[in-house]
């Protein structure tokens, strides 16, 4: 297969970046290294043909996690010594050896398993696709065949958000931290474009790679950018509590649609025959807004200061 050398090269690069970012002596390099790790990993997903995973990885794994880590993972005052004693040689010997051991075991795995067995679920998904209401197999799995998983995933995000919410905390001082002419101009250029792309990604999700998760990650990234340049949404700061109410919207809409299936078809999340496409679109739109708000709320919750203002 022609893509194999590229995959092997990207795979090796990802492993070397991982070792470097974990064992470098420089705390800042570790954070930037993690963002590079996410970017190269998303290239690897793209090379493998997993475009949906690549989109999510680049927006969440590299972008949003990076913004969060740069905000929360800065070396703390008087604690710089935490970062010492990590070897400091960049590519430490023990992790490198362990990496080689893991690589050897990993390479032996496909040999140990039956290499001739095909991926067992590709065919069932393709057969059921015409009845799913969408044309993209990944969207069909996420919102029709395995809708439960997606519903519970939103539940996991809500749980994490509740866990990271403290009453009486105030927004972190990062708001408008990068305000200035150049970031302002960049934000003005990027935000409308990003919003447009996010809208396209959720719409395209029914036919091509894309969907609620990827679009929500993009929207959340745009909101973080807006927050950092001190921008406002309809006169409200991006960290306004009103936007913190949005996360429950998607769960509500998803729950109502699931219950509608229970009433009309006798079990949860069963879409009426022939109407699945419309139901999925409604859920996807609500989920996009809700997931974007959840990701953003998590970002703000982590960076919040303690105590009442």
């Amino acid at each position: 297969m022609s893509a194999e050398p590229i995959e092997a090269l990207l795979g090796a690069t990802v492993v070397l970046i991982a070792i470097r970012l974990l064992w470098t002596a420089d705390a800042f390099e570790a954070l930037v290294g993690f963002m590079v790790f996410g970017l190269v990993l998303s290239l690897l997903w793209a090379a493998m043909g997993a475009s949906d995973v690549a989109l999510a990885e680049v927006a969440i794994g590299a972008g949003l996690s990076g913004a969060l880590l740069l905000g929360a993972g800065r070396p703390r005052r008087g604690r710089a010594d935490d970062c010492r004693g990590q070897g400091g040689s960049g590519l430490a010997a023990v992790p490198l050896l362990l990496g080689l051991l893991g690589a050897a075991l990993g390479a032996a795995l496909p040999v140990a398993l039956d290499p001739s067995s095909p991926a067992p679920l590709t065919e069932p998904v393709r057969t059921a696709l015409p009845r799913s209401g969408v044309e993209s197999p990944v969207t069909a799995v996420l919102l029709n065949f395995r809708g439960y998983d997606t519903l519970l995933e939103v539940g996991v995000l809500v749980a994490a958000w509740l866990g990271a919410t403290r009453p009486g905390s105030r927004p972190e001082p990062d708001e408008g931290r990068f305000a200035g002419d150049v970031p302002d101009l960049l934000a003005r250029l990027w935000l409308p474009l990003g919003a447009l792309v996010a809208g396209y990604v959720v719409w395209a999700g029914s036919r091509w790679p894309g969907g609620a998760f990827q679009s929500a990650a993009l929207l959340a990234g745009m909101a973080v950018l807006l927050h950092l340049v001190g921008g406002r949404v309809g006169g409200l700061p991006a960290s306004h509590p009103l936007f913190a109410r949005l996360p429950v919207l998607g769960l509500l809409v998803f729950g109502v649609c699931a219950a509608a299936g229970l009433v009309r078809r006798g079990h949860l999340l069963a879409y009426p025959e022939g109407e699945a496409g419309g139901w999925i679109l409604v859920i996807e739109l609500a989920m996009t807004v809700s997931l974007a708000a959840l990701l953003l709320a998590l970002y703000h919750a982590v960076l919040r200061r303690r105590g009442a203002a």
Partner: protein, 94 residues
């Protein structure tokens, strides 16, 4: 295919080693993320058909995994910062 499972194996070992031995909490979180990426890579690398296409079901699972690991990262960083603030407080009162 074995090239990718080799990379996945390496990520799993390096990530787990990092979670166990690193001192800095931020790096432990990063190591847990590296481990998680190894899991996703192993899952997708093992679920390809003869033409190299990735099975859509594990692909959806990987997509879900990325979002959930972001939530886990955020929660871990939140706990880390809460712990720091707590320690700072008791330092001040001494």
């Amino acid at each position: 295919m074995s090239g990718l499972t080799a990379a996945a194996g390496a990520l799993l070992f390096v990530g787990l080693h990092g979670v166990l031995v690193l001192v800095d909490p931020v790096r432990r979180v990063l190591a847990a993320n590296v481990f998680g990426s190894g899991v996703l890579l192993l899952l997708l690398a093992l679920c390809r058909d003869a033409d190299g296409r990735v099975d859509p079901v594990p692909q959806s699972m990987a997509l879900t995994g990325i979002v959930v690991s972001f939530a886990a990262t955020a929660l871990a960083l939140f706990f880390m910062r809460s712990l720091d603030a707590h320690v700072d407080d008791s330092d001040d009162s001494d």
